[in-house]
Structure formats: C-alpha cells, structure tokens
C-alpha cells in the first residue's frame, strides 16, 4: 500500500512544482541599466538646456560639461581616492558600530517589556536629533579624534537599526515562535534560532535606512574634527561651498549621489536575495 501512496504523492509533487524560468543575468542587468542611462542622459540634457538658456551665469550654475570636467579632474587625482577611502572607512566603521549598538539595544528593548515602554519612543526621538547637537558631547567624550566623528555617526544610525530589529521582532509570526517553543527552544536559543532570523527582512530595511542617517551624519561630522593627513568627502563638500566653487560642489554632490546609489543597490540586492530565498516575494505590507 505504501508504494501506492508514495507513487501518488510523487505524482502530486511533480504537478505542484513547476519550474518558472528566471531571465539570464545579462538581460536582467540590461533591463536595469538602460532606463538609468537614459535617465542620466535626460537629466544632463535638461541641465545643459537650463544653463544654455542663460538663466544664471556659469559661475553660479555651471553646465554639465564644466562639472564633469571638474569631476574628471578629481578622478585623475590621487587625493580624491584618498578622500573617498577615508570617508568610506569612517562610514563603514561607524556603521558597523551602529549595527552592533542597534542590535544590542534593539534586542534588549524588544524582549524586555518595561525597557520597551521606557525607551521605545525615545529611540525614535533620538532619530530626529540633528547631528550638530551631538558635537559638543562628542568632543567632550572623545576629544578631537576620529572617534568623535564615529560617535556622531553611530548616534545617527543606531536608532534606525534598533527600530528595524524591534519591528522585526514585533512582527515575528507567532506561529514560528510556537513552533520553536515546541521544538524545545527557550530564551537565548529561541532568540538565536527563531526571532533573529525571522526579523531579518525588517532588520535589513532598518539597516538601509540607518545607512542614510549614518552617511548624512558623517557628512556633518567630518567637519567636526579634521584629522592629520586625511581629507574627506564631507570636508571637500564644505570646502567647495566655502570657496564658492560651484563646479566643485556639484562634482562632490555627484560623487555622494553615486555612492548613495551604489550602496542602495547593494542593500536592494541583499533584500531581493533574501526575499527570493524566503519566498517573501509577495507579502501583505
């Protein structure tokens, strides 16, 4: 009899599973790339038109040609890469500390009910605190060191990250909690094997948001302490403004935008991969 059941099951299984094709990598990349390229061309064209119309003198609103030349000039200069490297290093380190902090705070706040009620709203409140308000405290704590910059970055990003984790924990499907409980998972084990992984998508979107905050805080924070032999993007942005260097400012903005887009794409790819693996492609949200 079992053989018969097994046959039937195999038949049903074969029917239920149908390979749906995914497009090839090349065609997916192309599908993403062409509208972007055309968008860039479109933006440049409009920009050039505005400049050509003579609405504002070139020294106020330089054309794309000038700006791209300036950018090209920068790209040919070792200092530019050093600045990007310094800023990215700070961003990454600050973000990493923020992730750790966010994880610890988020985990504590999400699981301990009184902590939750006590600090839940405070965390979001902190998110609205402008970086500049932290400067005195940063210097008080860390003097004129890079740590002061990182402190500002962490305070900017950690609340979002903690909030992402808290939201994830909150919306962990109770059925999974019960399944974990039945399996004998308790406390830390339950946290590690069920709650944390279940919170991952929400945590990821917290990370993405945290990055934006971290980056903006960093741009402000890099003016806080200027460290020997280290030029940075935030400083370059400020210098360009200070020197009324419109092409330089726009070139730096393009650099920031490109970094922002690239990072967004990385997060987007991670998010997509996660959703695909988990079959979360369609969720009620």
């Amino acid at each position: 009899m079992t053989a018969d059941v097994s046959q039937h099951l195999a038949g049903l299984d074969a029917l239920e599973l149908s390979g749906r094709e995914r497009r090839g990598l090349a065609s997916r990349v192309w599908a993403r790339a062409w509208p972007m390229i055309s968008a860039i061309i479109l933006v440049l064209a409009i920009w050039e038109l505005v400049v050509l119309s003579g609405w504002r003198p070139e020294y106020v609103l330089p054309g794309p040609g000038t700006v791209l030349a300036d950018l090209g000039h920068r790209l040919g200069d070792g200092e530019f890469y050093a600045a990007v490297a310094v800023t990215m290093r700070r961003a990454v380190i600050g973000f990493a500390i923020a992730v750790l902090t966010g994880l610890v705070v988020g985990a504590a706040v999400s699981r301990v009910r009184p902590l939750r009620a006590a600090f839940g709203s405070l965390i979001t409140g902190l998110q609205t605190m402008p970086s500049i308000a932290w400067f005195p405290l940063a210097i008080l704590l860390f003097k004129l060191s890079e740590s002061a910059i990182l402190f500002v970055v962490v305070l900017g990003a950690a609340p979002s990250i903690a909030n992402g984790l808290i939201a994830g924990v909150d919306y962990t499907p109770p059925i999974l909690l019960r399944a974990g409980h039945i399996l004998g998972l308790r406390r830390l084990a339950l946290y590690r094997h069920v709650i944390l992984p279940a919170s991952l998508p929400s945590f990821l979107s917290g990370l993405k948001q945290g990055w934006a905050f971290a980056w903006r805080s960093l741009m402000a924070g890099e003016l806080l302490v200027i460290i020997a032999h280290q030029t940075s993007i935030g400083e370059q942005l400020d210098n360009a403004r200070e020197l009324s260097d419109a092409p330089g400012l726009l070139a730096t903005m393009i650099v920031i935008l490109v970094i922002g887009i690239v990072v967004d794409m990385v997060f987007g790819a991670a998010d997509n991969a996660l959703r695909r693996r988990w079959g979360l492609d369609q969720r009620v949200g």
Partner: protein
C-alpha cells in the same frame, strides 16, 4: 527675506537688499540699521531689506543668486566670489573694519618656540586667519601643512567649537577674530600671544568690507551711493560715540537673534577693532599673496576687485581723505 520681485531690472528700484552677519566685526551694519542711517539715506521711496547670515558662503550664494544686492563680508569670501566668477559677480565698494584678530593660547605658552607640537585652531581652512597663522609660522621657521601635520598642528574648526575645545584643553590655542578672542581670554583664561595687527604695516588689515553685485552697481549707482553715504555715516558715528554704538550693537544683536554679547566681551572686543571706511587694499592683496605662499590658493588677479569711486566721492563731499585701491 528677499522674496520681493525686485531683481535689479531697469524699472525704478524700490528696495535695496543688504546682507550682514550678527557679529561684532559687522558693527557698521548693526549700527547703521539700528540707528536708521540706511533707511534715512535711501529715502522714503526705497526700502531697506536686510538679511543676516551666519557665514560667508551663504552670503556669497545670496549675492550670486541675486537674492541680495550688497553685503558686509570678510576678505576671503570676497576673494572667492571675485575669482570664481572671474571678476564678474562683485565689487568691493568700501571698507568697514580692521583688526580684532588674535592668537590666544594657554597661559603656559610664552613664545613662538613653545608652539612646537601644539594644536592651534583656526576658523576655516584657507580663510584669512588660517592663512595668517600659517604664514606667520612659516616666517618663524615652523612647518605646517594643510592636513594638521608639521611642527604645529593646525585644526580648522568652527569658532563655537574652538571655545569648547579650548576650555576642555583639547587645543592649545586659536587664531580667531573677535568676539571669540575676547571670550577665550575672559571665559577660558586664555592669554593673548599675538595681535595680528602687529604683523601688518600701519597695524591695519581688513576684517570686514562691503561688497555689491556688479549688476546692481551698474544699474543703480545712485542707490549704491546712498548706501555708501549711510555706511560712512555709521562709521563716523561709531568712532565719535563708542558708547552709543555699543548700545546700538547689542540692541541690534538682541533684536536679530536674541544673543547679545556679555558687556565685558563687548567692551573688550569693541576696543580691539578699528572701524574705518578704508578697505586697506594692501592687506587684502598681501593676504592673498600669503595664501599663495603657503600653498592654499592659486594665484588670483585681484585687479579691479575694488570700485572705490563712489566712496571717494562721498568722502570728498564730507571733506575726508580718499582711500586707495591698492
């Protein structure tokens, strides 16, 4: 705000938009506005609209964007505005203030030699004070670089932050303008090691002057003249009635941003600044030269940055001595 539709067209202008900083080095403007010198000079057909800025870049942006017609500003932003616009955007039409910049240090520092290995703050990389410090140190044989290295580590940071870091001992000194110099001395027991005036011929160097949009100057020389008349009157008033001027300054500061200076700071800072119509052109050119020498600026041609014709007319009418543009 300057959202009025007057963008400097040919039509009769009914508004002059003047910018300045709520700052003691901009006292000429503070007093002129408070005492109504500008309003009076412009007459009843033309209204004065003022805009206050926290720093040079915003003022320059506003001039560039045709959001203001004239502004009081420091030498650096003026040079930047001139060089970035290839001499098209602005003209310096009058001087306003001179001096009032000091190197304030911790009490235990007694001379240049003691500065070795110390951290000195300046307000902004490449600004007048920053250049002056670097040039001075270079003259004294101490090496610096733009990234805080060398014999003396120069840390550009906002003046407000300098107050904090000096108080907590994170920096050993600062080359700053008033009122920060006085505050460092009065509030944090700093010691004045050097008065920048001592480095300049005649103990004079420009700290604030008045610039206009070139287009505005071209289209409304009459208004520019009235502006300068008020400016000159204000300068005269400050010099003739310091007590009244100080009162006006603090009243205007209170009005504008609710942050008057403490009496002792006002007293000390005011005394250290000279208010003059002379833009002290030599110091501007000299400062630019120094900047080139310490490697912070590509050589710029400052020829034509001044247009002192109207100022000299006004001064002549008052029987005062003309000022030079080089």
């Amino acid at each position: 705000g300057g959202d009025g539709g007057s963008s400097g067209g040919e039509a009769a202008k009914t508004e002059v938009r003047l910018g300045f900083f709520p700052n003691i080095t901009h006292s000429t403007a503070l007093v002129g506005v408070k005492k109504g010198f500008f309003a009076k000079a412009l007459g009843s057909n033309v209204t004065l609209k003022t805009a206050t800025f926290n720093a040079g870049p915003a003022a320059t942006e506003a001039i560039f964007s045709d959001a203001i017609d004239a502004t009081y500003i420091g030498p650096n932003p003026a040079i930047n505005a001139w060089s970035k616009s290839k001499g098209q955007a602005i003209k310096i039409i009058a001087g306003a203030a001179s001096g009032g910049v000091f190197l304030v240090v911790k009490p235990e520092i007694n001379d240049v030699a003691d500065l070795k290995g110390k951290k000195i703050a300046t307000p902004q990389l490449g600004n007048t004070q920053d250049v002056a410090l670097r040039y001075w140190l270079q003259e004294k044989g101490l090496k610096t670089d733009t990234k805080g290295g060398g014999d003396v580590s120069i840390v550009p940071q906002e003046n407000a932050q300098t107050l904090q870091t000096f108080a907590t001992g994170d920096i050993d000194g600062a080359w700053v303008p008033e009122p920060f110099a006085s505050r460092l001395v009065l509030e944090s027991k700093g010691k004045i090691l050097l008065n920048e005036s001592d480095l300049w011929p005649g103990n004079k160097f420009v700290i604030t002057h008045l610039i206009v949009r070139q287009q505005f100057l071209k289209e409304h020389p009459d208004l520019v003249k009235k502006l300068i008349e008020a400016h000159v009157e204000s300068t005269a008033y400050i010099n003739s009635d310091p007590a009244g001027a100080k009162e006006a300054i603090n009243a205007e500061l209170q009005d504008l941003s609710g942050k008057p200076l403490k009496p002792e700071v006002l007293e000390s800072a005011f005394k250290n600044i000279a208010f003059t119509n002379d833009p002290i052109a030599s110091s501007l050119v000299g400062s630019a030269d120094h900047a080139v020498k310490v490697g912070l600026l590509d050589p710029v041609d400052l020829n034509g940055i001044y247009d002192l014709k109207i100022l000299n007319e006004v001064l002549a009418a008052k029987g005062e001595q003309a000022v030079a543009d080089r």
